[in-house]
């Protein structure tokens, strides 16, 4: 007797036509009768302890459900690094130029909007007029900023400080 049929019989989920033959088989099969008893014991115990069942720890994941994530660099969209780099560069430009350029707020806002669309600082420079070119970082500035970030990150363990967040370090390498 198939125990899966027995399990369904225990649950009263066998149709009228199949049930008589299954009961015949059950009556004649000592092993199946043992399982019949134990299946009911399982049900009795589970019904007597619903709170304990709810309190059971989370079931372990099956091996097929364990997903190994690829390295962070591998899953990052190619333009994401550029987008963050553009934001960092823009902040640096604002700091370098100070607050003495109130007339250019609208232009800066326009540049910032473009930066959100993951366009590199170099591309941003091409969309403005000649005056705007002074706002975007030059190549040497960009290099210095990258160099600073890389050096700082390399030295941070000796300095005993938390250092730059990993994504900043990644930006430093990927913006090139």
């Amino acid at each position: 007797m198939k125990h899966e049929d027995l399990s369904a019989l225990v649950d009263g989920e066998i149709g009228d036509e199949a049930r008589p033959s299954l009961l015949d088989a059950l009556s004649a099969d000592v092993d199946a009768r043992g399982a019949w008893r134990r299946y009911h014991v399982i049900g009795d115990v589970l019904r007597s302890a619903p709170a304990m069942i709810e309190a059971l720890p989370a079931a372990p994941l099956r091996s097929a459900e364990v997903v190994t994530l690829p390295a962070r660099r591998g899953v990052r969209p190619p333009l994401a690094g550029l987008a963050v780099a553009a934001s960092v560069a823009l902040v640096a430009v604002l700091l370098v130029n100070g607050a003495g350029m109130p007339a250019r707020h609208a232009e800066l806002a326009a540049i910032e909007d473009v930066g959100k669309d993951a366009v590199s600082p170099q591309v941003v420079a091409t969309v403005g007029d000649e005056r705007d070119l002074q706002l975007v970082p030059t190549g040497s500035f960009d290099q210095r900023l990258d160099g600073y970030l890389v050096n700082f990150n390399e030295q941070r363990s000796r300095l005993g400080v938390p250092g730059v967040h990993p994504y900043v370090r990644i930006v430093g390498f990927d913006a090139r």
């Binding site: 019989l9 066998i14 009961l23 009556s27 008893r37 009911h40 399982i42 009795d44 589970l46 079931a59």
Partner: protein, 192 residues
């Protein structure tokens, strides 16, 4: 289809003289009846005696059982009455068990007698409960959910399929696999 339908089939078989069918009813309900009786009769040995008498009374009365109520409801009442009578008597003398039916034919309730040889198994000890719960904890989530919806919440396969968004065949398979996994741990305990 329901659990009661299977019981009705078994009752009919007993009424037609199939004693093995009564064994199946005993195997199915013995633990529930012991637990029920134990609420009235604290002494485990006495509770087992009252349980045995309950099944004997049921067997004798079964030819007159018309199926107006579910079999379990019917035997539930017999168990309660038997336990109350026992408490009234309180004579502490062993119950006189007549192992013959109305025709004077000896009963062959192998399962009941076998169970009474191992009362600790019939009483569902803490070890049995802990083993089942531990096996439950180790089940994959889909199996655990399926058997919980069935045994604890009492849902039909169709309702479980709707709840778990899967075919009824999958529900049937999951519940079976859950039972098999638990039974693997339970079987040695009950057999020993």
């Amino acid at each position: 289809m329901s659990d009661n339908t299977t019981d009705s089939d078994l009752v009919q078989r007993v009424q037609q003289g199939d004693k093995t069918a009564f064994d199946l009813l005993v195997l199915k309900y013995q633990h529930r009846i012991v637990k029920l009786v134990s609420r009235y009769v604290r002494e485990p040995t006495d509770a087992l005696d009252v349980t045995q008498e309950t099944f004997l009374k049921a067997y004798r009365a079964l030819p007159r059982f018309r199926g107006d109520s579910a079999f379990y409801t019917w035997i539930y009442r017999i168990a309660i009455n038997t336990a109350k009578n026992y408490l009234v008597a309180m004579s502490r003398r062993p119950l006189e068990v007549d192992l013959e039916n109305e025709d004077g034919e000896p009963l062959s309730m192998d399962s009941l007698q076998k169970s009474l040889e191992t009362p600790e198994a019939l009483l569902l000890t803490d070890e049995i409960r802990d083993t089942i719960l531990d096996a439950m904890a180790k089940l994959p989530p889909d199996l655990r959910e399926a058997i919980t919806l069935r045994e604890v919440d009492g849902l039909s396969y169709e309702e479980i399929a709707e709840a778990m968004v899967c075919p009824i065949g999958t529900v049937r398979s999951r519940i079976f696999r859950a039972r098999e996994a638990i039974d693997l741990r339970l079987k040695p305990l009950l057999e020993n």
